[in-house]
Symmetry: C2
Subunit: 350 residues, 2 copies
DNA sequence: TTTTGCACTCTCGCCATGAGAGTGCTAAAT
DNA sequence: ATTTAGCACTCTCATGGCGAGAGTGCAAAA
């Protein structure tokens, strides 16, 4: 009789063994052989029996062996099965929770808070932390300030409800006096405060239309300036990575080629961003296993993510990047709780 | 007669050979033997003669051989002598100059400009670019704005003459109304605009003294707020590094241990900052050779720096980090001209 | 169904070997 | 006096053989 090919109908014993094997491999990165497994499992089986079981698990695709005489390691599919069905996450200690809480005490502006979060994640997991910054599109404008610089340049300061602050410099057609700027600012706050940027832009277009008919509007200059101030999208980072160097300590990534590719992809942002966005609308913690997800820069890597939200609205995604062979049972709750606490920290920030 | 031990009295011929050797080694990183040197030098000498000369150069301490049968490589002292006395920098092409000019066209705020500069440096040299951010202490305050956030939190926006913008959030003893904030802002700009932060702080202390005598001053609240706003030093980066991953391509640094140490020192900032500060008050381009300067994280590395200044005042330092075996003749003029252009870009930015 | 026994395979570290590169020294040549 | 040729010597590095160790798969026994 051929081995059972349905991973969900595996006999209890095989599951136990598989779990122990994965844990063992996560622990020390060496392929696990039948002897070791026989010794370390509480099942009282001989290596031979275990070999048979492992052969079955290999047939199903959960295991593979690097070469004939080297024990087994989990495949991507194996990891997937492990984290989805077998893993029990561990409780965090009070100390750890307090640590996270303290780091996320909201006292400064959003940008700084998110950086601290990323640092904290990397520090506590000894892996690379990653925090995607919220698109401020969704946030309501609170305040607009103009500061006249030399010539025709005007500094625009936008403050959003989530405490995010944006500075932009625009070039105006003519020089505006401080008075004009003050007036414009007042008008804009009055008219647009509480609306998000997208809405503001739309309404501005309409306003501009109306202006063409009624040239005498005293708010001509305000609209003119605003047009520029709100349109120009400032270059801003999409996410912050911290603790990249932690990854250099990890045996299976200790290859300059690999590391370079990985670090480059942090800089280019594209791949990582794509991955993060995928998980933006999932609920709770998600786990990406590199080879499975088809990101070749993430070979031998896993990414554990969770969206964070405030007032029911998803703001962004945070997580941890590390080797596929990571301590999921610790990392998952850390990412989970960090996301939640960041959410409420941002909440209390309004 | 023993070999001449004074490097400045070396015969012309030895100098020529030494220069060619260093250039050769910089080119392809392999120790250079007498055969190669005999072939590549235009001097018509046999390998044996060259061996004698090389032995002399080794005695003086300019060369060393990794092992008996491996040709010679320059020592730190050798590099020093090379860059100080032998090197002729090459002219930059018009394209390169235009490239630098374009990248440094000042249009946004200082922070962004400096980041672009760092990126440009790394990109153009294929090494790591580094730009130290100016201490804003020296810059005159131009504008102060307050934005009331929830509860007792106030967002402080400081704009300096060099277009640097700083955001800080402070906690006040009580809630201030927008009107009060506006008034405070007006007063502070009126009183302190044009002065640098250090001065402002000093004067504020005096003001506070006076206030104690004359409690009726209408500007009590302004001073109160300002006290906090100007005292709290925001956490800000000291320098930005770009193109770290370029260093991973370089053969002699292709060792994860080394790279980790190096990258870590970028993150911890301490060592690098110390080094940069050293060159802050030197004129023009300076070259640090890792082992010579005693920074062990910089083994096999050199740092080429130049201070940049605007209106005769040194604002900071920028430069490039790469292997000791780098193309100085190209890197030096690049760093030089970048520093000058950044200076004038910041100048035109006022 | 499990276990024992055994032949087989693959990796890895070790050592010897030899080619290649470059040196230093001495003696000859210029 | 300087330069060159010759030569023995040293060191690295790539190669291949070898044996130990680890682990497997299979067949036969329990």
């Amino acid at each position: 009789m051929p081995a059972n090919t349905d991973i969900y109908n595996l006999p209890e014993r095989s599951l136990r063994l598989f779990k122990i094997l994965v844990e063992h491999f996560i622990q020390d990165g060496q392929p696990v052989g039948s002897r070791t497994l026989a010794r370390d499992s509480d099942l009282d089986l001989s290596p031979a029996t275990i070999r048979n079981i492992m052969a079955d698990l290999e047939d199903i695709g959960l295991l593979q062996s690097p070469h004939t005489s080297a024990g087994r390691v989990p495949t991507a599919k194996g990891y997937r099965f492990f984290v989805d069905s077998l893993l029990r996450v561990s409780e965090l200690t009070h100390n750890e929770i307090r640590r996270i809480e303290e780091e996320l005490s909201a006292s400064e502006d959003t940008q700084a808070l998110l950086m601290r979060t990323s640092n904290m994640l990397s520090d506590i997991t000894k892996l690379a932390g990653i925090v995607m910054l919220p698109k401020q599109e969704q946030h309501a404008l609170r305040q607009v300030e103009f500061v006249s610089l030399s010539d025709n340049r005007v500094l625009v300061i936008l403050v959003f409800n989530n405490n995010e602050i944006q500075n932009r410099i625009i070039h105006t057609a003519r020089r505006f006096s401080p008075g004009e700027l003050q007036q414009a600012s007042n008008y804009l706050v009055e008219t647009y405060a509480g609306k998000d940027l997208m809405t503001v832009r739309k309404e501005l277009v309409r306003e501009l239309e109306r202006m063409k008919q009624n040239v005498t509007s005293i708010m001509t200059s305000a609209i003119e300036i605003a047009q520029q101030a709100f349109t120009k999208e400032p270059i801003r980072d999409d996410f912050v990575v911290a603790g990249q160097t932690n990854l250099m300590d990890i045996a299976e990534l200790c290859d300059v080629e690999r590391l370079k590719k990985l670090f480059d992809s942090f800089n280019q942002k594209r791949d990582i961003l794509h991955l993060l966005e995928q998980s933006a609308h999932a609920k709770g913690v998600q786990i990406f296993i590199g080879e499975e997800a088809g990101y070749d820069v993430l070979d031998n890597c896993s990414v554990v993510t969770s969206p964070y939200e405030s007032e029911g609205q998803i703001l962004g995604v945070l997580g941890v990047i590390g080797p596929t062979r990571m301590h999921y049972e610790r990392v998952i709750p850390i990412v989970d709780i960090t996301a939640k606490m960041l959410g409420s920290a941002l909440n209390s920030n309004n």
